[in-house]
Symmetry: C2
Subunit: 280 residues, 2 copies
């Protein structure tokens, strides 16, 4: 993977990056400038779309992608032809071809599809918003979500990410996942509310509590009026694959009665995952 030759048409990075942390750091998607190859520019264009920018004008895309408008125009045109973007009067949107492609992505395809029916069952019983998270890097990724007609606006959307130390699902990952994860995460505990755990020691105690209880909770640690509860989803071979949980707007009265429901659903999901395709 030698870095490409420095000579670039537009601009170039001075020298190879000093290692630092690959992770997801720089490539925010929108902020990414410094495109070099044709493909990366087209992709940068796609990367400008997110939940807050699901409809954009051409020049907005160009600006956010750090591309000349002319270039953006040409590339966007090709994307539209292919179906990756759709063009309306008010701007560009993500095309349905991308959507259909996305349904083939592994994280989505296996777990979420298998889990959905079981999540329904939980919803029927508890009438709370039901979430399914998987671990992705040093965050949890919401792969499926369900809420009844009664619930208000959803807290998070499918595809959202949450930090490990400020979410019930994240605590599950910390408690039952690799130890390295804990050490890595506890380096940087960003506060989201006044109740977010920001001390590594406190977090360690909390994780021990989770391990002892078998479930994790959050109390306004991710956002105000946001109470979470999650249990692990283990494969038959004890491997942790996901965290199943609920979210409520006020402190749940009966944690004790919800946990068994979640556990039953988690076991059901695990059983089916074990039968069908193997973990990964």
């Amino acid at each position: 993977m030698a870095n490409a030759a420095p000579s670039g048409r537009t601009a170039r990075r001075p020298a190879s990056i000093p290692g630092s942390k690959p992770s997801q750091a720089a490539d925010g998607g929108a902020s990414a400038q410094q495109a070099a190859s044709v493909t990366s520019r087209a992709l940068a264009l796609l990367g400008t779309f997110d939940a807050e920018h699901s409809v954009q004008s051409l020049s907005a895309m160009a600006r956010r992608a750090g591309l000349p408008v002319t270039t953006a125009h040409r590339l966007a045109g090709e994307l539209v032809v292919w179906g990756g973007l759709e063009k309306a009067n008010d701007g560009y949107r993500v095309g349905q071809r991308i959507w259909r492609l996305g349904l083939l992505a592994p994280a989505q395809q296996n777990i979420a599809e298998v889990a959905a029916p079981f999540m329904q069952d939980v919803l029927f019983v508890t009438h709370n918003v039901v979430n399914l998270f998987i671990l992705d890097g040093q965050e949890v990724l919401l792969v499926e979500r369900m809420s009844g007609t009664g619930a208000g606006q959803p807290f998070r959307r499918v595809g959202a990410r949450l930090p490990l130390h400020a979410s019930a699902a994240g605590k599950i990952m910390l408690a039952y996942g690799a130890k390295e994860l804990f050490t890595a995460v506890s380096q940087r505990l960003e506060p989201h509310t006044s109740r977010t755990i920001t001390s590594p020691a406190t977090l360690a105690t909390e994780i021990e509590r989770v391990q002892a209880l078998g479930y994790a909770t959050t109390e306004e640690e991710a956002g105000p009026d946001n109470y979470g509860l999650a249990v692990p989803v283990f494969l038959p071979n004890k491997q942790l694959v996901a965290a199943l949980g609920i979210v409520t707007r006020s402190r749940p009265a009966s944690v004790g009665s919800v946990v068994p429901v979640l556990n039953i659903a988690a076991r059901g999901i695990a059983r089916r995952l074990g039968v069908e395709h193997l973990p990964q």
Copy 2:
């Protein structure tokens, strides 16, 4: 135009090369029609993924996209870096970045998200597989689907398309949509089972029946052991936006009791769609 030098990157096959490499004149490349631009090649690569090919080797992708392996290798590499593809030992898959992008696509975002809770309610009452279709071109597109733990394997997956004349949702579109749609579709009525409607006259009668009843049914017209039932979802201004339905494995006993349930849910969906963002 008048291409000058034949020694081009794309063409290059005068008489000079001793090597044979016939290569079809017009390139019959399965799906992709002689792409030229860089972007279109990268996209052609993505386009090789579908439900039957969710994991592919590099050369398989190259073959299906009609690209040289070398080129495919380079492009796939860029896609992997960006997150559009994921590379495992057994081949490439669609990356989760595409999945997350896809969630922003309009068809998915608006209707499916709004409809989901109401579909839950239907599922709760009927215990059947619940489907939500929108019209897309001359087909219906499954944008959301729900099934309980009891139901067996799903008939269709989200993202699937069905012909208008062989699906309950499609009949709804024909009955309440634009008239031109009917004339266009009735030109080519492909049979899927022995019970599929293949005569324009029969279809016309069927559509009238749908208009009279207010709901549509199919009886093994799309596949064996496949019985469908669907109702329209109208916006407050009478515009048809979707079809909501259920699927069963045997002839449903009580159509009469399910239709009201579907209609209530359809009204609920419409009401919320009307309140929030306007149709399109």
